[in-house]
């Protein structure tokens, strides 16, 4: 009984405090700017408990934007492995979901799910800030 009480408290805490790490794996930085817009006054995600973190060690959610190019492939796995265990991966934008406009280029591997297990796909090119917030709330409900 105690165990699932503690589990419930942990889940509640994790739900209300998602620390996000953003990594652009080769995109056109349209989605990155929209992600940074989340921190600005109009969309302010700090009220949802979401903070942008710099170090993979501190982050719970890895948000990837852009198609995976062959050169960033090595970097992605290294960062994903550095993050502490209850972690999630969010694919932001259609490039990150499926490779988008650049799907048939030979230096592009396609979406992020070719390298990492993805928990949440947010479509859009570039994705709207409201869509990102909607996605993150869905992620919170799933925890």
């Amino acid at each position: 009984m105690i165990r699932n009480l503690i589990g419930k408290i942990y889940r509640w805490a994790q739900k209300n405090s998602l620390w996000v790490l953003h990594f652009n794996t080769g995109g056109c930085n349209g989605c990155d700017i929209e992600f940074l817009d989340l921190l600005t006054p109009r969309y302010d995600v700090e009220r949802l408990g979401i903070l942008a973190e710099g170090s993979p060690r501190h982050a719970d959610v890895l948000i990837c934007t852009g198609p995976v190019t062959r050169q960033t492939q090595k970097g992605i796995w290294q960062i994903y492995s550095q993050m502490p265990s209850p972690k999630w991966v969010v694919a932001l934008g259609s490039c990150s979901n499926t490779g988008g406009v650049f799907y048939d280029s030979d230096t592009v591997l396609g979406g992020i799910d070719k390298v990492l297990p993805v928990d949440l796909y947010i479509p859009g090119c570039p994705v709207r800030p409201e869509a990102i917030i909607e996605g993150l709330i869905k992620l919170q409900e799933r925890i």
Partner: protein
Amino acid sequence: MEKITIPIGPQHPLLKEPLSLLIDIMGENVLGGDLRLGYVHRGIEKLAQTRNYVQNVPLIERVCGICSHVHTTTYCYAVEKLLGIEIPARAQYIRALMCELERIHSHLLWLGILCKHIGLDTIFMHTWHNREMVLDIMEELSGGRVSHAANKIGGVRFDLDQDHGPMVVSILNKLRVEIDKLRDVVMYEPTIRARTQGVAPLSPEEIRQFGVVGPVARASGVDVDFRRDDPLPPYDQLKFSVVTNQAGDAWARTLVRVEEIEESMKICGQILQDLPDGSVEIRASRRVPAGQVVVRAEAPRGELIYFLRSDGSDSPARLKIRTPSLTALSILPKQLSEIQVADIPVVIAGVDLCIACADR
């Protein structure tokens, strides 16, 4: 103290996009750095050859998320030159309006990022809050906040009806009040000035040697602006002054970009004032006659050059894009030779890198 090498690797809070910069430092001062690009290379020039001219417009728009409209404008002018057609004056003016709005939002974005990197999050928040106004205008006009799909070969996809003009003018006036406040803060705030003055100065000779263009060149006194020197259609009828500064350090680049926001707002006012009426597009044939063309335009970061060769079929034979960020990147290692570790963010942000542009 032995030499350490800091990897500002593909993922770093300083970089929005992946770029590998190995900086070797001794204690607090930086000895030098070398650069590795290619993380964002999607082979757009090769992809352009597998798509026809009309399909290329959305592809070219995704070269860079911040200056997407300038890319499609240059591409469409290149194709129209090959076709030998001239788009109606109203379409040229609307294209120029979107270009200037994009320059405003790009410079505001840059100002926020610079202040964020030197620890002043308040200005980052205020600048980006004001930037939302510009994005609202663009969304109102073209339907898209960042990539607007405004251009097509032979004209523009949307038209400005009567209440668009006054709406844009009113929002721009509101924006001007906010930006004057921001400009005073950036000008007279002691800590911003302390962090950016005298950091990584660039002499005009270095600028000319490395062929650097845009605000970085203008901040060192090199007076090159492709809206005036090699103007695309509407700019030769518009009156504007090119902002230059002699100091050439990060502080001068800040001032040049803030002044340019002011300049762009004046241009938008002029465009809206004498907007010719008429149709917004003309029919353009899908097959482009054989020929080669070079078109130069002024992107928010400097000279953007497109080389296009067509061989009569409906898809380009060769498309070469050279973006201004490539020149800014070529001069970055040179700037990293006599600064402190704490100045690295100011230098990297000062050059306003758009790595998606540089790597194509």
